[in-house]
């Protein structure tokens, strides 16, 4: 079920009413959440529900077993088992064909043919998200950071909670399980704020991302026929699209959770207002980057040790983040390019600079900040070509297409009026985000202190824009991961 579908618009009020008015005890509310989450997931494909249930049972049992063991070695064995099982499932569905392809290529280099066939595997939606969630649970128990829950219903609710099941934010048991195990109380302010966040998420997805997609899909599919300026415009729009698509999803997920009395992890902190690449990665897909930081980067040494160690670890984490996105070399290259951009900052010790928000308590950024934002954004426009292109070869051809004489011509667009309208909407979007950049989400700030009528007029305008630009339901980009 897509957040931007009519099905979801019907599903959510039904679950909301049942949750607050019918299933009033903690246990029954959690059972309802599990049922609703399974229905939500099965709407896409019921066959893969079994995988979620298996993942849930594996880590629920292993979590309890780790806690029972006295010996460190036994605990470690159980943790290894959990990681192997989780990564085994993920690896099979996501990376099997990728590894076979590369093994075959490697063997061919030595003049030998490997006789293994590719499998026709469908990637279950959200597998990368909930697998990481279940793994972090077992690791945290092993590290004595949390105690395992004996409540299977609460644990299952944590794993399958529908707002964040298919595309995050990737929650941690330490922050989410206590919320599942404690009785939720309806909070008016929290719920209305949730609705505002949903509204803004829908705006980002339907108005900005889906309309960018119209141009982006055409330009990336037919890149060989377009001028350099058109290709650059396509890459620029994709940079906007991917942010609005994914952060829009996160906004809706967080907003919906708030309606049910839950607080989810913030996943995006206005990343396009970052002054360098390091700040960008602290603000982009926060739940994933902190996951890799805690469970991969720090265990391999993190920023401890020499500059060389730091650089090695940075490249390692980016290569893994790249691969997490998909079984394709283009994602590895995408990770590598990002790591490469980190190098000068690590060498100069400036990778931890800019931890506060840009132009704090000011209306506008200064010249240095503007330059920082501009160059970070420009870097992302080029780096994301590798993310969006069909293959590594296409990405390189796309890039070389940009750097041609035609870069200085006017872009050739299928519909210039629509492109101009889209640019105006993008400017409006950035203005709203700029004013809300100190808050959890943009609409928490914008018009929140205005008179009721102005506020209402603003919200109705957003609703109007959502309906006005609503087209064919487009799947969220991150569903494929």
């Amino acid at each position: 079920m897509l957040f931007n579908s009519i099905d979801f618009a019907i599903f959510i009020p039904i679950v909301f009413i049942l949750y607050w008015f019918v299933f009033r005890s903690l246990k029954s509310q959690n059972v309802l959440l599990i049922i609703a989450s399974y229905v939500f997931y099965a709407w896409w494909d019921w066959r893969f529900l079994g995988l979620i249930i298996v993942s849930t049972l594996i880590d629920y049992s292993i979590g309890l077993a780790i806690d029972k063991q006295q010996k460190k070695k036994s605990k470690k064995t159980l943790l290894t088992l959990s990681i192997l099982l989780n990564l085994g499932i993920l690896g099979f569905f996501k990376y099997y064909n990728f590894f076979i392809e590369n093994f075959k290529a490697a063997f061919q280099l030595f003049g030998r043919d490997l006789d293994i066939n590719y499998l026709n595997i469908i990637l279950p939606v959200g597998i990368s998200f909930y697998t990481f969630q279940t793994m972090s649970y077992s690791i945290d128990i092993y590290r004595n950071k949390i105690k395992p829950t004996t409540n299977l219903i609460a644990f299952a609710s944590f794993i399958c909670f529908f707002p964040q099941l298919v595309a995050g934010p990737i929650e941690r048991a330490s922050s989410f399980l206590p919320q599942v195990e404690k009785r939720r109380v309806f909070n008016y302010a929290k719920a209305t704020d949730g609705l505002k966040q949903i509204l803004w998420g829908l705006f980002k997805k339907i108005v900005i991302a889906d309309n960018c997609a119209v141009f982006v899909n055409d330009i990336f599919e037919n890149y060989s026929t377009y001028s350099g300026s058109t290709l650059f415009f396509g890459a620029f729009l994709f940079t906007i699209q991917i942010y609005c698509d994914f952060s829009g999803y996160s906004d809706i997920a967080i907003g919906v959770s708030r309606l049910f009395g839950f607080n989810l992890k913030k996943n995006f902190a206005f990343p396009y207002f970052s002054r360098n690449i390091a700040e960008f990665w602290r603000r982009w897909h926060i739940s994933l980057t902190t996951w890799f930081k805690d469970y991969f980067y720090i265990p391999i040494g993190g920023s401890r040790g020499s500059k060389w160690t730091q650089l090695r670890n940075t490249f390692a984490i980016f290569l893994v983040i790249g691969l997490w996105h998909g079984a394709h070399w283009k994602f590895v290259v995408y990770g590598f390019i990002n790591a490469l951009h980190f190098v000068p900052y690590i060498i100069r010790g400036k990778n931890t600079k800019y931890t506060s928000i840009i132009a704090n308590n000011k209306w506008f950024p200064n010249g240095k900040e503007i330059f920082g934002m501009f160059h970070t954004f420009l870097f992302l426009v080029f780096a994301r070509i590798f993310f969006r292109a069909d293959s590594l070869t296409s990405a390189v051809e796309f890039l070389s297409g940009i750097f041609s004489k035609s870069l200085f011509s006017l872009p050739q667009l299928s519909n210039t009026t629509d492109a101009l309208i889209l640019l105006i909407l993008i400017i409006f979007f950035f203005v709203v985000e700029w004013f809300g950049r100190a808050k959890e989400h943009a609409l928490e700030q914008v018009f929140s202190k205005s008179k009721r009528y102005y506020r209402l007029a603003f919200y109705y305008s957003i609703v109007f824009l959502i309906f006005y630009f609503n087209g064919e339901e487009q799947q969220f980009i991150y569903f494929q991961f």
């Binding site: 579908s5 009519i6 099905d7 019907i10 607050w20 309806f186 008016y188 719920a191 209305t192 609705l195 037919n222 209402l456 919200y459 109705y460 609703v463 109007f464 309906f467 006005y468 630009f469 609503n470 087209g471 064919e472 339901e473």
Partner: protein, 304 residues
């Protein structure tokens, strides 16, 4: 909680009222689907030839040039699965029906409306033909299936500017007002051909089954089927994927060999059609439609 529900409902009421009003107003606008459904009911006792298919059929076959009473039931983006559903709906109601003419275009085996970017058009078959092609609420509503900007334009055109909302003649045929598109056809045959070239063959098997169902259903009612690959402009033909085209032609030939009530007419490369007969790379204009209709009518007469 009460306050929250009250405020939310109050906020949503104007939105819902506007949506319901728009839905009613939009359904009130006459459209080709509703009109064809009504017309076919009026002519059901006399129709002898039924034309089905996408825009290629809709613009390409003018029933006025058929010797016997014909009706064009084609629509823009209508795919073979919908052709079958329409035939299934009407075949029992057309006692004099003798021939069904269906286009077998370059895209016919590789597309279905529900899989395409035009899937919103399914609502027209749900709402105006009662075909129940989708249970999705979105596809059973004008407001929910079409972009608001397009719906506002439709409302403005019909209610304020009193523009005609019907684009077909009494025989179900539609024609382009201008003989050609403004742009030279040679310039965009490649673009159209590329757009029509499928990424995979996933739907081929299923669509061939729909073709077979159409022929079998027709056979049960002693109706002949003529599959027609329509003429196309050179700029389009030259840029088609050979294997996709061969698949289509092979399917037509195979159907002809396998079923006694089925014939296949491949006019893709026909010399009879010149530049002046095309509106754009893959659609005939009024001239071209006249030529094609006379040719197909002649074929029907000779086949008897």
């Amino acid at each position: 909680m009460k306050r929250f529900l009250k405020q939310t409902v109050l906020f949503l009421i104007p939105v819902l009222v506007i949506m319901i009003t728009m839905e009613l107003a939009l359904r009130h606008i006459p459209n080709d689907y509703e009109l064809k459904n009504a017309q076919i009911a009026l002519k059901k006792e006399s129709i002898k030839t039924l034309i089905l298919g996408s825009s290629h059929s809709l613009y390409g076959f003018n029933p006025e040039y058929f010797t016997e009473e014909a009706y064009n039931l084609g629509h823009v983006s209508q795919t073979i699965d919908l052709d079958y559903l329409l035939l299934k709906k009407y075949i029992k109601e057309l006692p004099k029906l003798k021939t069904v003419v269906i286009r077998l275009s370059y895209t016919t085996l590789h597309e279905q409306l529900n899989e395409s970017t035009e899937s919103w058009r399914q609502k027209d078959y749900n709402l105006y033909y009662n075909l129940n092609v989708s249970n999705k609420l979105k596809l059973n509503s004008e407001v929910l299936s079409v972009k608001l900007r397009n719906n506002i334009k439709r409302l403005k055109n019909y209610y304020l500017e009193h523009e005609a909302s019907i684009s077909v003649t009494n025989s179900g045929w539609a024609f382009f007002e201008k003989p050609h598109v403004v742009k030279p056809i040679d310039d965009f045959g490649w673009t159209v051909a590329k757009k029509h070239t499928a990424k995979d063959n996933n739907l081929v098997e299923e669509n061939i089954k729909f073709l077979e169902k159409i022929v079998n259903l027709s056979n049960e009612h002693s109706v002949n089927v003529i599959l027609v690959t329509l003429p196309a402009h050179k700029s389009y033909r030259d840029n088609l994927n050979t294997s996709q085209l061969e698949m289509v032609v092979a399917a037509g030939e195979k159907m002809k060999r396998k079923y006694s009530n089925c014939n296949y007419l491949n006019l893709m490369q026909s010399d009879s059609f010149k530049d002046i007969d095309f509106y754009d790379p893959d659609h005939l204009n009024t001239n071209g439609a006249k030529k094609l209709s006379l040719l197909v009518d002649d074929f029907i007469t000779q086949s008897k």
